[in-house]
Symmetry: C2
């Protein structure tokens, strides 16, 4: 008899963005003429830049002739892209990554979800809280997260990030085998200084733990001090996997391309105490369950490293970060408590004392026709906050702000 | 301490196509002037058809304007593609599939590898033998396949397909919870009649088993009797998942798009005896670990259902099948025992009595500079056979045949 993987049944039925969509649709049904502006979902809106489109057109043309046709590519990604990544994202910052340590994928969600397959199912995990739900849900599906009790997973260690600790998570007091960090952070938009990140790397080195480091938003960092990569920290090559994406960097949310760095020095233990490098295991995993990202997407991604591509991508990020700056100014001038938005496209807004994040969401929707994301959807420490994104157009973002401050 | 998932360490280190590449490279190093022709790897070589390229160009252009830009799409795939699939691949054959039962992916390898996540880790699996290695390897990674003993996985039931049984697998004599079938078959190129496929569906219905049906090569079926879809069999909607791909149908091996059909009636049991529909679980899985296929790839895939696209795709398949026909004729005229090639782009060739498939591979490589795939690489029942593919150009395929028959 075919039996279900019952761990799937432990997942809550409600999915944050589906819940939001349902409530927004209910509002629209009642107010068919309302002009709703979404500052909710973290998706880009600006067009793909010209350099990327030109490269993608060329790639499609190549596919039209048997001499230049591309069938199956390397599961790990084409050398032209892996080498561009090594040079453009790491060597340019003085970091040495071998191109065999770069694994191109169809977006960071896949790899942040799948990478946990390499680890024993009963290893313990720890996450900053609030958090991108994929980290926990992918672990829940294999039984590693336990069960939900009062909004918390029983086998997950949460590192709260709130106004009280300045959104700087404290190191775990009990043992954690795998730690998920995301900086610049989704959803809070906050960053971790080099000194703070070093504490985590040292924790991992001393406790033989792994760090899964999601830096999908590194392109939004504006200051010179904030680390772009965890490999800026000494020792991280021994304990950290880094996930990156072209989604937010270059508007690839619909194009699908990202990459994962698995340094050769990162090893995990067998029960017998032998060390196994993760790089080879991940290669094996990808060769079995993945067939490479689209050639057209990879050519597009490579174009972001050309001089023209770099400039154009930067301009789009500047556009979003101008939105963020304006949002911060307007909201702070009105006395709101807001974090993030300086090195990330997300603003984390404290809701008035005594109000829940869902209640505030409703008030924004019904009072200003603006959609935000309730913080509690990202974890227990997100209660009392909402997330706003800077991914809208200038005009709509201004309009949304005008309405919000009138509330 | 982070511990490795030790099931990964049970996987054999050698990977069939990597082994072949190594031996071919060794030959080329010794014979730098040799003109090697590959009839080995199952990858297409003909260009993408015009209708597909035009649609992909248009999609790239859409991405260049904020009015028509596409960010995150539905994880399940765009409605325009799901509806085209329903109409073009199923309704056209009198089969009713709801578009919510269609899950677009980045290629069938991903879903055939990932779908086993929904099933309890200790459910038993059965595979036809020889077989596409992904089915077993993806189960091995979660511990479901057991360990390799004498070239066989200890917890896998093999259904031998050989000349002796006319490549028609017999039903299992012991209980199997999940059955992998692939028809038209990779690697043997053989098909299963409706009557034979019905036996499997009835087995699954009577034993509460699941069938994972890979029909990635259905577009190569030339006769009118062979089933294109398992849903042509009564009752299959209660027990079968079907995997399909644009890879071989439309030359998408480098573009990456496929789909999986999960009928709402397919359920699996909990230990408590409740029934859980897989359609909802797979949707949850995809929302967590996948972010949709590239918009550009989906637009390209949809173009294969337009009248022009259909004609152009058919012409490419006819090209490959003309190769296959020629290969069959030439080899059979020389007295070789060959199967497949009539409804599939693969030919399954029996090697001379007493020779192994690797020994024959070496003889073909050194004697004729032609690369084939040793059958034993696909499973124990593949010993004594090699696979040839019809995916080459006409000229090179003819040249290869001339050399082979001179051997």
């Amino acid at each position: 008899m075919a039996l279900v993987n019952e761990h799937f049944l432990k997942l809550p039925n409600n999915y944050l963005f589906a819940d939001i969509a349902k409530r927004v649709n209910a509002f629209k049904a009642q107010h068919p003429k309302a002009d709703v502006i979404s500052l909710g979902i973290g998706d880009v809106t600006r067009p793909l830049c010209e350099a990327v489109r030109t490269a993608m057109h060329e790639a499609v043309d190549e596919m039209g002739s048997s001499d230049t046709f591309h069938g199956y590519g390397p599961e790990q990604g084409y050398a032209f892209l892996r080498e561009a990544i090594v040079k453009g994202d790491y060597l340019s910052r003085g970091l040495h990554i071998d191109s065999s340590e770069v694994f191109v994928n169809d977006g960071a969600k896949s790899d942040t979800g799948n990478f946990q397959e390499l680890i024993r199912w009963d290893n313990s995990i720890g996450v900053t809280d609030p958090i991108y739900p994929v980290y926990i849900d992918s672990n829940a599906m294999i039984g590693r997260a336990g069960v939900v009790e009062g909004g918390r997973w029983s086998n997950v260690t949460y590192f709260p990030c709130t106004a009280e600790n300045g959104f700087v998570p404290a190191l775990p007091s009990s043992r954690v085998d795998v730690i998920y960090l995301c900086y610049p952070n989704n959803p809070t938009g906050t960053v971790l200084s080099k000194a703070e990140l070093r504490k985590w790397v040292n924790y991992a080195l001393h406790n033989d733990a792994l760090i899964f480091y999601d830096s999908a938003y590194e392109a939004y960092i504006q200051d010179d001090e904030t680390p772009h990569s965890i490999y800026e920290i000494k020792g991280a090559r021994k304990c950290a996997i880094e996930f990156r994406s072209f989604s937010k960097t270059a508007g690839f949310t619909g194009v699908r391309c990202g990459y994962t760095i698995v340094p050769k020095e990162v090893t995990v233990a067998t029960l017998a105490g032998e060390r196994v490098p993760l790089q080879g295991l991940w290669h094996r995993r990808q060769c079995t369950k993945f067939n490479g990202a689209s050639y057209v997407s990879q050519r597009g991604a490579a174009a972001t490293y050309t001089p023209a591509g770099r400039e154009q991508v930067k301009a789009t990020i500047a556009y979003y970060m101008d939105n963020a700056r304006m949002m911060l100014e307007v909201l702070r001038a009105k006395g709101w408590r807001v974090w993030g938005g300086e090195n990330a496209p997300y603003l984390w807004v404290q809701v008035p004392e005594g109000e829940t994040s869902w209640r505030f969401f409703e008030r924004m929707l019904y009072g200003a026709q603006v959609v935000c994301t309730p913080g509690v959807g990202f974890g227990p420490s997100g209660e009392g906050y909402v997330r706003l994104t800077a991914f809208g157009s200038r005009e709509r973002t201004e309009e949304a702000l005008e309405r919000i401050v009138k509330l």
